[in-house]
Amino acid sequence: MLDLIAAAGDFAFGAGQSFPKVDQEYLLQARQMQAMSFAMHIPLVCFGIAFPSLVIFMEWLGLRTGKAHFSALARRWSKVMITLFAAGVVTGTLLSFELGMLWPGFMSAFGDVFGLAFGLEGFSFFIEAIFISIYVYSWDKISDRRHILTGIPVIAAGITGSLMVIAVNAWMNDPSGFSIDQAGEVTNVKPFEALFANGHLWPQLTHMYLAAYIVVGFLIAGVYAFAWLKGRRGDYFRTAMVVPLAVACLAAPAQLLIGDWAARTVAEDQPIKLASFEGLYETTDGAPETILGWYTDDNTIEYGIQIPKLLSFLAYHDPNATVQGLETVPEDDWPPINVVRMSFQTMVAIGTGLAALAAWFLWIWFRRRRLPETKWFYRAVILAGPAAVVALIAGWVTTEVGRQPWVVYGVMRTEQAVTGADGVVFGFAALLAVYVALVTTVIWVLRRIARQPLPPEIAALEEVPDGAR
């Protein structure tokens, strides 16, 4: 591992001269277009990763207990699942087009280094698409046992699919497995080493995977927490709320630990990224953690709250460790500090908040064996879903913008990757319009699914108190 890091370090900083710089006035638009597309894809993908296991769990409960409301939930949720999957598929397709349309310099130089991962990812999507169709369309057409088995490949493909994409992203953060010769050509490519012997892969994958469960868990629980507040508390609604809640409430505290791991990986391989998370200008022993505030032009943080030595402790688990500051590289090599810092702090704040909410729930459950009684808990659960989505996007902004100005850290700058073609802004506008249509339809369909009546045998059990509607 160490020699890989050293290999990457060889061309870090001051490197990046090997590739022609593209004269592109639209760099910013290209970046925003990429960002918008990710912001569409990633929340949908969370459902591709986490939802199948929830649905299958429900189905399994139904088979085990023979109680109707579990299967009813599994069926209803599977409709939601395929709707969101369809949206995830097309937004993902657009992303693969965009890699070429917006970043041809990057693809031409490095397509062969990381392409393998996308190849394997493609097969994962095949499997996911095939079995999600079989699962959703074959209720009652094949035996119950077989039906539940067709769900397993969907779960597995969700894992391998995200593994492969994250491998690419991890490689961009910590490039290795190739060399650059005198002529500036990428040679000596070792794709397996580049992708899978990468120190960033696992923290990033675990962190993303948990994030997907947090997002899905709180979003679904939030919908049913709303029903709970309206007084709908029969078996069906109760199950629909507590199962996702249970998932999210365990994943959220775990995320703190994984996030700390991710931060340490960054500290090790990308010291400048870490320095911009924290707005740390001078290299400091026993560096303090600064919360809130704004990084100013004279390289200090205004209005921040300092906690002595905490940063050194968090980044290196040693209160006196030396943390490298931004001053060590030219300002040209800095990412936009405030964007990175704000999004990092947003993620951490929300992550901490979600973990606190989870602790509340778990505490009451384990001490009193009942659900929280106060309405505020359910209101908080309703908020937790959107907040988790914000944390998810903020986390990706931290990672991606924090990597700037590099597209391949220390090797290729984003301005060397971008397309030389004109008119990106028109593409952006057209895409925005089509996304509006897609989102509108998804919302409309989810509402229709929600308005479908419950199966009569379940509706009978869901007594709705007077005045709750």
Binding site: G100, G111, V223, T419, D422, L446, A450
Partner: protein, 399 residues
């Protein structure tokens, strides 16, 4: 043949499968919006009924092609995608519009969605045809956006190939849907599709002939490749298969017609590959563009492992679908939803306020590069998004 050629063959196989499988998917909406006569109602949704369980899987072939291309021939990928970004983006927009129809599920019969799908059924094959045409007539020089981003794909060859693909998708769709209708015992519908298939087949054949003429003028090298040697064999095979399908359609043997029609399309793709090699872009051969052997071996190993899992899975899916085991999923089919809950005036005001806020915030975000407006726009946009989610959640629980 060398190692460096193998991925190119995989790419051609992927293109052929995409054209054959997804082509039918894009052709179907044409028949939905032109539906007339007694079976009009069933014509309108038969495309959706047949394709819904398989379209996602069909679609992955496109991703397969892209991925192989950028791994094995990175420079080719970068050159094509930067010069031809306009038609490629159009294709993408079309794909998203098509997906809207599937997302909408059982209510895809709605006029808005049918028209959206119809636009996409023109846009996607046409734009992808233009991309192929631009490669055929040498409009894409190697390098980052080195070709003219408009002229590269608006010459006679690209336009002709685009139109051919539109016609052949419509044709494939009619043939497949006829076979599906027959399987479901809907004879009248099958007959309706037979007529449409025959007409579209003739049009597609004529267009292909015109396309050859265009090639003669603008893409001498590929024209020669298609009119001599192995290329000629492929063209003849395709023509013959085309005629056989017409015959099979005429005599009502739809299931056989479906397979032979696919062969006709696949043969053209093969012919193109034979005629195009060894040069992929002007001045750049397939072998020069290829990644190192180590990368290609890695890729082929990955593909081989992938296929071991994929082939049986696909076989299972298609056997279930072609065996008629899947009914359409009644995701929110119109009959199932209870009476529509009208929005109260206050509710409608909130909803429009949210929309306006989203547009204003989104616009500010879109138009500014930095500073207060950008962040204010972001805040407004995210706030309206959050309100939208809350509104949605409220309506969700009023089941």
């Amino acid at each position: 043949m060398e190692l460096a050629d193998v991925p190119a063959i995989l790419i051609l196989v992927g293109i052929a499968l995409y054209a054959v499988l997804a082509g039918a998917d894009f052709g179907a909406p044409i028949w939905a919006i032109t539906a007339r006569g007694e079976v009009a109602e069933r014509l309108k949704d038969s495309g959706h009924r047949s394709m819904a369980p398989v379209w996602e899987a069909n679609h992955v072939w496109l991703i397969f092609v892209l991925v192989i291309c950028w791994t094995a021939y990175p420079e080719v990928f970068g050159s094509i995608f930067s010069t031809l970004w306009i038609p490629l983006l159009l294709a993408c927009l079309g794909i998203i519009m098509r997906a809207v129809g599937y997302v909408a599920g059982g209510v895809s019969g709605r006029p808005v969605i049918r028209y959206l799908a119809a636009v996409s059924s023109f846009l996607v094959p046409f734009a992808l045809g233009c991309v192929i045409g631009a490669i055929v007539d040498g409009g894409v020089p190697p390098g980052n956006a080195q070709g003219d981003i408009l002229e590269a794909w608006t010459g006679p060859v690209p336009i002709a190939i685009g139109l051919i693909l539109v016609a052949s998708s419509a044709y494939l769709a009619a043939v497949y849907l006829a076979a599906d209708a027959e399987r479901r015992g809907e004879t009248e519908l099958a007959v309706a599709f037979r007529g449409r298939g025959l007409a579209a087949g003739v049009v597609a054949g004529l267009m292909a002939a015109i396309g050859l003429l265009a090639l003669h003028g603008d893409a001498e090298r590929v024209f020669d490749g298609l009119t001599s040697g192995a290329g000629l064999v492929a063209v003849i095979a395709s023509g013959a298969a085309g005629l056989v399908t017409l015959g099979l359609l005429w005599s009502g043997r739809f299931r056989k017609a479906r397979f032979v029609a696919a062969i006709a399309v696949a043969a053209v793709v093969a012919g193109w590959g034979l005629a195009q090699q060894p040069m992929i872009l002007p001045g750049l051969t397939v072998r020069e563009a290829a990644a190192s052997d180590e990368v290609i071996v890695g890729l082929l190993v990955a593909v081989a492992i992938g296929l071991i899992i994929l082939v049986p899975s696909l076989a299972l899916l298609y056997s279930l679908v072609l065996g008629g085991r899947f009914d359409p999923l009644d995701v929110a089919s119109p009959g199932a939803a209870p009476e529509r809950r009208e929005l109260t005036p206050a509710g409608r005001r909130t909803l429009s306020a949210i929309w306006v806020a989203a547009l204003v915030g989104g616009g500010m975000l879109f138009l500014s590069d930095s500073g207060v407006t950008l962040y204010l726009g972001l805040a407004i946009f995210m706030a309206s998004l959050a309100c939208g989610i809350v509104q949605l959640a409220r309506s969700l629980v009023r089941a």
